[in-house]
Amino acid sequence: MDMNEIKEIFFQECEEQLAELESGLLALNDGETDPETVNAVFRAVHSIKGGAGAFGLDDLVSFAHVFETTLDGVRSSQLEATPEVLKVMLRSADVLADLTAAAREGGSVDADRTSALSLELEALARGESLTSGTAAPDDAQHADETVQPQTDTPLPATSSAETEADLAANDAFEPIPFSFEDFADEETAPGVEAPSEAEAAAQPVTSDAGLFTIRFKPQSDLYAKGNETVLLFRELATLGTMTVECDASDLPPIDQLDPEAAYLAWTITLQTSASETDIRAVFEFAEWDCRLEITKGETATASDTEIEPTAETQASAETDQPMAPVPFDLTLLDGDGTDEDAAASAAVEGAPQAANDAPDPGAVATAEQPAPSLPIAEKAIQANAERQTAKPTTVAAAPQTIRVDLDRVDRLINLVGELVINQAMLAQSVVENETGGSAAINLGLDELQQLTREIQDSVMAIRAQPVKPVFQRMSRIVREIADMTGKTVRLVTEGENTEVDKTVIDKLAEPLTHMIRNAVDHGLETPEPRIANGKNGEGVLRLSAKHRSGRIVIEIADDGAGINRERVRRKAIENGLISEDSTLADEEIDNLIFHPGFSTAEKVSDISGRGVGMDVVKRSIQLLGGRISIQSTPGQGSVFTMSLPLTLAVLDGMVVSVADQTLVVPLTAIIETLQPEKSDVHSFGSSQRLIAIRDSFCPLVDVGQLLNFRAETADPVKGVALLVESEGGGQRALMVDAIQGQRQVVIKSLEANYSSVPGIAAATILGDGRVALILDVDSVVAASRGQSMRQETALAAAS
């Protein structure tokens, strides 16, 4: 694991967070009120900001910060998540996604859009604070200042950090550099960046400046929160030479003692080259839970309180009030404290004994302390130096998932495909060699087949993924187009968790994008005509996915105006697609929009994309072994339905013979198989035949004739009928000559190896090594309805 790998993890995580962000915002938009949704949204942005900071991705950090601040307003109920607010936030989510992508792949983002949105976000955060009171504007201001120092931290401390810290001493919330580093820098020269001249110069070393008196009285909370006086003093000792006096005067007798209360107080005299800021940094974590007073110069001996109890009470009374849990004001302490301290010290000057005793053990402490501190410094340096060349040691965390290169999975899937074919061939040759009698061999073959099957399923499951990420991308596209066209659109998604093979997912986005664009651009109306027609001004786009018959069916439904058939028809005539006098059914007119080169938009808009029409969409879906259809109702909208195979790798099929050809019919399409009786078959019209199945009639499709395998009509009684259901819902009885058996086949794309063939989805290799064609049931059914199928099928039969 090195920083580059972690950066890659960061970007992967960003993707997840962006998805989380968007779905959360959309849920809020739909009226979700669960606070956890707001929290999750906030966390997503927060997390992106955190990681981005670590990699110095400043643009990302700045924008995420502004976004986060506004979200925090929503989270703390200072800002109401109105549709207007959410609209800004959704657009901000898009910008955040762009910034992330730009950070990952290089490239630029629309800086104007980013800064405009930043302003909008800030306005939202601020606008609310005006009514709710005080904090927010200050916070935003403050936060802006701190973003900068945060983003460049992975570098070793710079010389300017020192002076900045000094300047920032009044602000306890600024990250103060730990004094430890300074110590390490000065004491352990080899291998470390030596303190620069500037740094040295920034610390004027006057003889007097180096003496500090520190008075410290912890409260019990200091210990309860895991801080420890011993550790504080140990660290303090690394700064210079110190003497420590313990004041036990508040300590009660043993039987009145609360063992977890804090009674002791200390006065420390520290001779050091470090600044007061450095000293304060030691107490950074403890400051809230103690009384701490740091004064320059030797004002000590106020602590000799055992001897002079009255002085002690005075001193403690006076220290009470400036010790509130407020950042310390140095000037106040310097101007105020010193004089009184001096007075106090003068009052007790006559009690020198304890004070004189102290330096000795104190010196011992300083002499010995650097020993334990040195390895610490070394570790720190080591951590710094070895960040780039990491060598992981023990990793205690158990990962719940592993990430595998897709290539490896693909390779595995291909190999399993070969295994399936090989297993089928082996079974075949056993049959042919007439060793089929051996029960042991057959049993072994059955087991092998089952194992092969399980391996294949398991391997395919590795690559299966929900369509959710693709769907989520669509909501952004809807927003953008809605903005561009002045339409108000709500996207509703269903079945996001429907899983499909990754190869399919990857190819889904492009046609889906076109269809979504088309639906918003052409399908939905602008608010005014909608309202005029009695509809809600907001158009609704429903995007749904579901499994059906072993395929994934994706629907894009809009509640727009529906297809304007008159205009489509006119356009088709203008373009010479149909003749003036042709009579077309509504469905046929609707399907004209899939015709190459057809575009109903009066002007080709940027949105749907010049030259990319629904014909391209249809073709790319067909290439995936899918189909697309449209149903439209004037005034009520259109539904585009596309169905795709769940995987592009394997298929359960029924192997059948038709006119000496072997075909595979996808098992998922078959409802049942029938042996037609003569009395069941009825002719009607010139060439149509129906078959009676129980109480209903179903059109009979002669597959051999349809695919041009033979010219004459087959006799249904001699063959077998496969009752199939097409994507459109219609049932047909497909007539074939004989059924050979059921088998799982590995899909070999015809497009990749040959070319697309109507009526044929793909090809496969059977156990005997022969190539068999896989029937495209839907297109066969469609063809039987009279929709034309080009005559190239003969070629397929010949191959």
Binding site: A40, R43, L155, K225, G226, V230, I376, A390
Partner: protein
């Protein structure tokens, strides 16, 4: 003897950075993804110091810190809070919950190690 650090953070990125930094510095590291898991891991791991994020699902950093401070055996374990913002209010809440100290994210490895050394014996 290696000091053991328990880190609690929902970000995979930060968890990995912590792991890298702490292992390099010679610490033994155990990790949890949120406050609930943090309290579970606490029981098994007996850490010398805890580093925790604030914004986490299920149980956030405040709740987690309170949980540790109420624990009979582990209530004295120093807890450092990772916080992206130098937000005073958040820091105060963390302190009230019982945090020992804090580290401003994005952390500098040197500072992280120094802060851990500062609060551990």
């Amino acid at each position: 003897m290696k000091k053991k650090v328990l880190t609690v953070d929902d970000s995979r990125t930060i968890r990995n950075m912590l792991l890298l930094t702490l292992n390099d510095a010679g610490f033994e590291t155990v990790q949890a993804e949120d406050g609930v898991e943090g309290l579970e891991v606490l029981e098994e791991s007996n850490p010398d110091v805890i580093v925790t994020d604030i914004n986490m699902p299920r149980l956030d950093g405040f709740g987690f810190i309170e949980g540790v401070r109420q624990h009979d055996r582990y209530r004295a374990v120093p807890i450092l809070v990772l916080t992206t913002e130098s937000d005073a209010e958040k820091k105060n809440r963390a302190r009230q919950a019982g945090a020992t100290g804090w580290i401003v994210k994005p952390f500098d490895p040197t500072k992280l190690i120094a802060a851990i050394e500062r609060v551990t014996a």
